[in-house]
């Protein structure tokens, strides 16, 4: 899936809607955590995520959206 394409599509549609200001951000992250309990590892956690965040202002009002559903 091309997340930049999705972000550009969102930007284009919001410009068409004549919002005053907009930010579209993509955060693609991979993280690992080793959780220790009493000097032993109790769980190894891995996170893999993509988040498209959208900020708009329109007539001095603010709206935020976070999209984590890419189906």
């Amino acid at each position: 899936m091309d997340y930049k394409e999705i972000a550009n599509y969102i930007k284009k549609r919001l410009i068409e809607k004549k919002v005053d200001d907009l930010i579209v951000g993509i955060v693609n992250s991979n993280a690992v955590q080793a959780k220790f309990t009493n000097n032993k590892i109790s769980i190894m956690q891995s996170w893999d995520s993509v988040d498209i965040g959208v900020f708009i202002s329109l007539k001095k009002k603010i709206a935020l959206t976070s999209i984590k559903d890419f189906t």
Binding site: Q33, N38, I41, S46, D48, S49, I62, K68, D69, F70
Partner: protein, 471 residues
């Protein structure tokens, strides 16, 4: 939902020699807005769909989550997670799960008034009117009024390698106010949340406009007429909100078995209770406190926990005796018992931890006013402004908001912000009478790192505590 991916994940990890695997596919739609002094500030609309998979590989626990739901990406994420989990096996804490019953079920919390059927503008207008309502109150200045409305509909598909397959749909509307007023060179703040599982009918039942008006009138009375109470030992009658926070903080948290075992010591804290404390006398005969996820309409409602265990009522203290801890499959196996269905995760990308659901003191036979009759000198702490409690949940304090003096069995005058300082055993051993006016209140409960904030109910009826320190 991509249910086939959950099924695929289970098989893939089983083929990599896992002794246990579970997959939780979760979608959530969150909508909400905030009003600052009656002006809409931010509206938020979030949509999430992801999968969280937890597994046991030779006694090492691993967890992986992703919202990139393409088979090849999921496979990559799982294989990376399996690799890092195997790398931890030298210094692992050996974890085993005991055999548990498996379930196949589907359930949905019905909405009498569908949240989607009410336009967002109608919801915003309700809270704008609620803000206007408190500004009509004479004799005070509203320094700040912050109103937040939210609704979340979570759909879950859970399967595990023991054969459980559970689907759930739970909608949860909520709101809270954070209001600051001043009068007579004094200021006062109140924060209180409301939440439940159901539809928009909950918002209607809470009667937001009148609720806020009554709250501000009570605050005004406390500011203008409240007197400082003289420090000392006296009897205290707590209202349902105060009883609720006491149940949650000084009973629910220390009964979480992962805290007892030290699993969350560095993040959430520890417990004054240890693994051998079952049977320990901690309160009076009048004190029976339960955690019950099956209470319909509850903000902490669920029918199966996030490990596929059927939910049930748990008696944490029964007639003043520590009876049961809150368990997930990891802690129950360590203490040689079965899980009691207390594993919850705040999202698809969080591991299930031992958590509370709806925690409350069971009601007694007294009417609330009968609790005052036998008090010669004391206070009625109807609700509270702030609280804090130590890491082991032993020493705590609660500062009252709407409070009254009780003299010779009667409520006589408002009291300004008294503070109850107490330890957990003194608190619960001091309870000699419990009323029949059970009420539950909503709250966000936080735990662990990364933080998991979960909706819970906390509550109980009014109760009387004898001879405690008030300042």
């Amino acid at each position: 939902m991509e249910k086939d991916l959950a099924d695929y994940s289970i098989k893939l990890i089983q083929d990599l020699d896992a002794s246990y695997v579970e997959a939780r596919l979760e979608s959530s739609a969150v909508r909400g807005f905030v009003l600052k002094n009656g002006i809409p500030q931010i509206s938020a609309f979030d949509t999430v769909l992801g999968i969280g998979i937890r597994f046991l590989l030779n006694g090492t626990m691993g967890f992986v989550s992703t919202n990139q739901l393409e088979k090849n990406k999921l496979k990559d994420a799982i294989e990376r997670a399996v690799k890092v989990t195997k790398s931890a096996s030298r210094i692992k804490e050996h974890i085993e799960f005991l055999e548990e019953e498996s379930y196949a079920d589907k359930y949905e919390v019905k909405q009498k008034i569908n949240l989607d059927d009410i336009d967002i503008s109608e919801k915003i207008d309700l809270f704008i009117d609620a803000d206007k309502g408190i500004r009509d109150e004479k004799g005070i200045k509203v320094l700040g009024n912050f109103l937040s409305y939210g609704e979340e509909i979570v759909k879950e598909y859970y399967i595990n390698s023991d054969g459980s397959k559970i689907e759930a749909v739970i909608p949860k509307p909520n709101f809270y106010y954070f209001t600051t007023i001043s009068a007579n060179n004094k200021a006062m703040q109140r924060y209180w949340p409301y939440g439940g599982s159901g539809g928009y009918e909950l918002i209607k039942n809470w009667d937001v406009i009148n609720l806020l008006k009554e709250e501000v009138r009570a605050m005004k009375t406390m500011i203008l007429k409240g007197e400082k109470v003289k420090k000392g030992y006296m009897d205290v009658v707590t209202g349902t909100q105060v009883t609720g926070i006491m149940c949650h903080e000084s009973v629910g948290h220390p009964c979480e078995a992962d805290r007892i075992l030290g699993r969350e010591a560095a993040q959430a804290g520890e417990s004054f209770i240890d693994k051998d404390s079952i049977g320990m006398k901690i309160g009076s005969e009048a004190v029976t406190i339960v955690d019950d996820p099956t209470v319909e309409g509850g903000y902490g409602y669920y029918k199966y926990d996030n490990e596929g265990i059927k939910a049930r009522r748990k008696f944490l203290y029964k007639n003043g005796i520590v009876t049961e801890f809150l368990h997930n499959r990891e802690t129950s196996a360590k203490l040689g018992t079965q899980s009691n269905g207390s594993a919850r995760a705040s999202s698809y990308n969080r591991e299930p931890l031992v958590r509370m659901s709806n925690t409350f003191l069971l009601p007694g036979d007294y009417k609330e006013e009968e609790l005052f009759e036998d008090v010669n000198y004391g206070i009625f702490m109807k609700n509270f402004m702030e609280w804090n409690i130590d890491d082991k949940r032993l020493n705590q304090k609660y500062t009252g908001s709407e409070c009254y003096l009780i003299e010779k069995g009667k409520i006589t005058k408002p009291i300004y912000q008294p503070t109850l300082e107490i330890t957990t055993p003194v608190l619960w051993k001091g309870v000699d009478a419990v009323a029949n006016n059970l009420e539950c209140h909503a709250g966000p409960c936080g735990k662990s790192e990364p933080m998991q904030s979960l909706p819970v109910w906390l509550g109980g009826p009014s109760m009387r505590i004898r001879n405690v320190w008030i300042s």
